[in-house]
Homo-oligomer: 353 residues x 2
Amino acid sequence: MKRLEACIAGIKPLDETAFEAARERLRNQARPAGSLGVLEEVGARLAAIFGTLDVHLRKRIVVACAGDHGICEEGVSLFPPEVTAQMVYNFVQGGASINVLARHAKARVAAADLGVDAAFDPELPIFHKKVRRGTRNFSRGPALTREEAVRSIEAGIEIVEELAAEGPFHLLGTGDMGIGNTSPSTAIIAAFSGLSAADVTGRGTGLDDGALAHKIEVIERGLALNRPDPADPIDVLAKVGGLEIGGIAGLVIGAAGYGIPVICDGLISTAGALIACELAPAARPYLFAGHHSVEIGHRFMLEHLRLRPLLDLRFRLGEGTGAALAMELMDAATRILAEIKTFEEVAIADAQR
Amino acid sequence: MKRLEACIAGIKPLDETAFEAARERLRNQARPAGSLGVLEEVGARLAAIFGTLDVHLRKRIVVACAGDHGICEEGVSLFPPEVTAQMVYNFVQGGASINVLARHAKARVAAADLGVDAAFDPELPIFHKKVRRGTRNFSRGPALTREEAVRSIEAGIEIVEELAAEGPFHLLGTGDMGIGNTSPSTAIIAAFSGLSAADVTGRGTGLDDGALAHKIEVIERGLALNRPDPADPIDVLAKVGGLEIGGIAGLVIGAAGYGIPVICDGLISTAGALIACELAPAARPYLFAGHHSVEIGHRFMLEHLRLRPLLDLRFRLGEGTGAALAMELMDAATRILAEIKTFEEVAIADAQR
């Protein structure tokens, strides 16, 4: 818990002077005021994070956190739990969706085992942060102990520390892999929002009507049994959460602690970001939303976090794919701020013509 | 007219075999079916355009077509007409918004004078395709003669021909610059949709309520006076259109003729694309929508063209900025199709582990 508390205490507020200077430069560029919409806000916020109007998001990393879920015993997913471990190997081999989209975004992919129900070779080039082999079935009791929940968040912070120790980096994307993990994510949303599971449960990777009704019933049961306390984010994570979700919360807090902007992805990654911001409100200004999930619970979280996703391409995959794709737009926002000439700069060029 | 007719006659249908093979590969990739949403459709369509599942959008060009508008006499824009020519110089100097976003997208920017009310030095490195120095005021009579309208479309086709003569290219973005050009674009939408100007007129680069009401009244007057015939797209372009809009229509038809995917941008560019597709329905499969404009008329056009924009970042700029930014997503779609492993490929890798 000390590592978590120290990291939260170390999060610095953004540089308001750089923020105002960025907004003034954007206003004075030779184009109608506000005409580059959302990317102006992104550019100004990045300027405030880095304390400069010439931000370069050179080194980019996507961390895909993996974990298994006891709730799969209830038949809430179309895929068998073994797929979680298989996908970790696929991440390492470079053939998964996140590898392809991260390559496109010039980002490195790091996979992390927070709680996969498989024994990985210690030589496998991933972050080995297993807290336990999968969560417990939260429809029959708490998913994690409080200590395990804290440990998963601290593991995420450690990953940021270890990455930073290799050299500075400028943009972190968060991703997830965990068969069954829309169920804990949805339970987290219900716990914080007070909405019913029926209001916020989606079809995950493709459930039909009957399977959706079953998933809602399982989540409702878990919430009624565990009564997670929304005023205590670690209690929510422990009662109905997941280890990769805790890891993602740690990534967000860790990135904010290191002054690095961090992008959340879809439903699961945003559930982690929500826990992070409930624990550490100072982390929120470092957080950007990459992609709008088709999962209905996502909307609640984004409103709660006051985030507008950069993309809405009907992805429903996770892994960090939406975060990776959004990295290009974040980079474009830095170029807009730094490179589009102001009316004054154009006039100088005109005078020289 | 012969060049236009020949180009339209030469547009080939897409390769259905490649399209089906692409869809099958996407379905078999190691991820939930359909989970990469819109980019799967984009990837399959690009495969069908190029006749291969391994598309590389290496050489990318954004053509920004410029023209002036007689309708500016009616006070429909916040900016003076001189800005059109100034922005053409800014495009050449590389400091405009489109230069910055095209650099980011690894695309070349080519500016084209279709009808700017200024005499450019013939040495200025732009496409010199001036049909006349600005359109006539369409609230007092036709904006263009029928011959001028055809000439502007053929000029767009010539630009594609001249670019292709320099070497193959793989992706074309369309952009516009023309003070006052939301008015002709809106009139074009009203003409094709049968909707009133009040229904489809937006605030352009930032009109207040009074100025908006005036703009609607001016457009209504132009439509009532000219009675453009929606069954005759060249009549619509001539009566209420613009020269850069005709140029963009020519770019779309020309790109389709050369088998090159083409991205439309915001309101003005999409008005050009609408005229292109009304003239040449075979061009539509080559067309992609880059960005959702905040201008209300844009929605009608996209529905009519059955296009879903890749981005919605509240841009209201034009110049091709939304098209340029979408190029990265189109490129990501090609990598998704080619590089994400199928379940079979993953199993082979597993067996070798």
